[in-house]
């Protein structure tokens, strides 16, 4: 059985009503019965005292004249009082003078005055079945005897039982009544609460904020329901707003994605057109310049021929710039697919390729073994190729050189590095190193388009890494990168 604490509010309310009315009734009945019993006792005592007084008055002479017969007759008059079961008159010395018994069996009067009664002049006491009352018989201010009357308590008991029966009946009827009333009230009070609870539960279960609890009254419960409904409305409103802004956000994301895709497509078509259309005229310039050099060399002096060669060189350089630019944009657009890449092996292979192109170069190529990284193999290849090409290029003016690839600790992070002992650079311009088309050396000194390191930086940053460099003029350069 569930404890009262966990009972439904409707049972609580019913219990409350019934228990309150029942306990009030019980208390009222008890007080009433107690009061009545008390009154009845008082009446009994008063009536017995009156009888005793009358008997005492009437029997004073019989005691003085020692006439027990007359005394017995006086006592016999008590038969009109059905409640008096026995009575007795005692002389001053406590001897029974005359007695009366309503029935034979009820005769309880002792032959001598009980000791307890002699101690006090007047008095009464309640025995189990009767009230015993005694009064002194006084004649001319002198005690001449004592009257004792025993009154049965049966009437009292019957009356008490009747009272209790009536009280129980009243209690029963009123409890039934109070149950009915409580049920009615309970329904009035608990229904909106139950309704509210059910609504709240359905809101939590179904996440449906559009339902509303019914408000039936304007009391606190009605206010509660109203507040609850307001809260629901607010939540619904906020949900709708949230949904709306989420939809808007989604819409915006879709739009932005479309814009981005569009921009990417435009960029691609731009790259395509750069790759295709921008190079076409260059081919013409270069091709026809060479045609002139070949077909009309006899008509051109040395200076004219040199000029045409400059035209060709510039054309080819422009072609290289376009290609590098395309590579850079390709690196930016390329999808990254990460896998385990053996960097050491990659660097060794790239170094061998460089050596193959310029076999006469004396380069001490040191590669730390077993270095791997998680990254896009194609892009990492391009990045490392650019770094190694750089190292290769900028050590070109030295008869021998050392190029090193390894790993080092930097602020607790592992950083790969490519170190050379070549031309190096002034740290003051370190921030310019990675800008596209930025160069720290004159074309005549070291050629290049200034895209290589920009490409490296884009690749590394697309991997979520960082690239930086340290260098000193004519001492060499170190390029660090993390992945």
């Amino acid at each position: 059985m569930p404890s009262f604490h966990n009972l439904s509010i409707k049972y609580k309310l019913t219990w409350l009503g019934v228990l309150t009315s029942a306990s009030a009734l019980i208390l009222a009945c008890a007080v009433f019965v107690a009061y009545d019993v008390r009154n009845f006792y008082d009446d009994m005592v008063r009536s017995a005292a009156t009888q005793a007084k009358i008997i005492g008055y009437n029997s004073a002479a019989t005691i003085l004249f020692i006439d027990p017969h007359s005394a017995s007759e006086t006592l016999a008059a008590l038969s009109t009082e059905p409640d008096i079961i026995a009575a007795g008159i005692y002389t001053r010395d406590g001897k029974l003078f005359a007695s009366y018994a309503a029935t034979r069996s009820s005769s309880t009067a002792a032959t001598s005055l009980p000791k307890a009664l002699t101690l006090r002049a007047d008095g009464h006491r309640f025995e189990k079945r009767y009230l015993e009352l005694w009064r002194q018989i006084i004649f001319e201010r002198k005690v001449i005897g004592t009257v004792v009357i025993q009154t049965s308590l049966d009437a009292m008991r019957v009356r008490l039982l009747q009272y209790i029966a009536i009280a129980l009946l009243v209690l029963l009827i009123s409890t039934l009544g109070s149950i009915a009333v409580s049920l009615w009230f309970q329904r009035r009070i608990s229904r909106p609460i139950l309704d509210l609870a059910a609504t709240a539960k359905s809101v939590t279960d179904d996440k449906d904020f559009s339902v509303r609890a019914r408000a039936e009254s304007r009391d606190e419960i009605g206010q509660l329901v109203e507040t609850f409904n307001e809260m629901l409305a607010r939540i619904q409103e906020q949900n709708e707003e949230l949904q709306k802004s989420r939809d808007e956000l989604e819409q915006r994301v879709i739009e932005r994605t479309a814009q981005l895709e569009n921009a990417n497509k435009e960029l691609e078509s731009f790259s395509y057109s750069v790759s295709h259309d921008l190079r076409a005229p260059l081919r013409s310039i270069d091709g026809f310049s060479q045609a002139i050099l070949e077909d009309y060399s006899d008509k051109l002096d040395a200076e004219g021929q040199a000029d045409l060669r400059r035209v060709r060189a510039a054309t080819q350089r422009m072609g290289q710039l376009i290609d590098d630019m395309l590579d850079l944009s390709r690196v930016t657009r390329a999808k990254i697919t990460r896998e385990q890449v053996d960097l050491s092996a990659l660097v060794r292979a790239l170094g061998a390729e460089l050596q193959k192109v310029e076999p006469e170069r004396k380069i001490d190529f040191i590669v730390a073994p077993g270095l791997t990284a998680d990254g896009d193999p194609r892009l990492l290849r391009i990045a490392l190729e650019n770094l190694l090409r750089n190292a290769w290029k900028f050590t070109g003016k030295h008869p021998t050189a050392k190029i090193e690839f390894g790993i080092t600790q930097n602020n607790g992070n592992s950083a790969y590095f490519v170190r050379d002992d070549g031309a190096g650079f002034d740290m003051a311009y370190a921030n310019k190193l990675f800008g596209a088309f930025q160069r720290l050396h004159a074309m005549t000194e070291f050629n290049g388009t200034g895209v290589g390191l920009a490409t490296v930086q884009r690749i590394i940053s697309r991997h979520g890494g960082r690239v930086w460099a340290e260098g000193e003029v004519e001492k060499g350069a170190i390029f660090y990168f993390t992945l």
Binding site: H276, R279, R283, S284, F288, A291, R312
Partner: protein, 148 residues
Amino acid sequence: MSDKVILLVEDNPDDEALTLRALKKNNIQNDVVVARDGVEALDYLFGTGNHTGRDTSVLPSVTLLDLKLPKIDGLEVLKKIRADDRTKIMPVVILTSSKEEQDLINGYKLGANSYIRKPVDFSQFIEAVRQLGLYWLLLNEAAPLGSR
């Protein structure tokens, strides 16, 4: 082998002149038929349009196909060449400015036999044409006529 023609599909007259010059420089004597857009190339191959009545059983020994062409672009031309039984196994070399990966992939997917990117440096271009002629006109054994 010199009796067989080379079909050059090229819309840029400069590139046409340079390609012809490169062929000449390499002593490639084959007749060169120039088509200036995709439609013209297909007309020539299938004997339609301006080339109605041409004997289509005679195919070029090699077709040099630019990708960026007016009307019908190079990849579309290649698709039509490969879709037709007559030209299905004819050698087609893509000769283009583009080195976009997608062009390369699409070119090979559609059945190009080679893909050559026109270099800016004309000397390199002459070298490329030399190797191209050497391979497709001299070394390569063309599929027998009955095979198609």
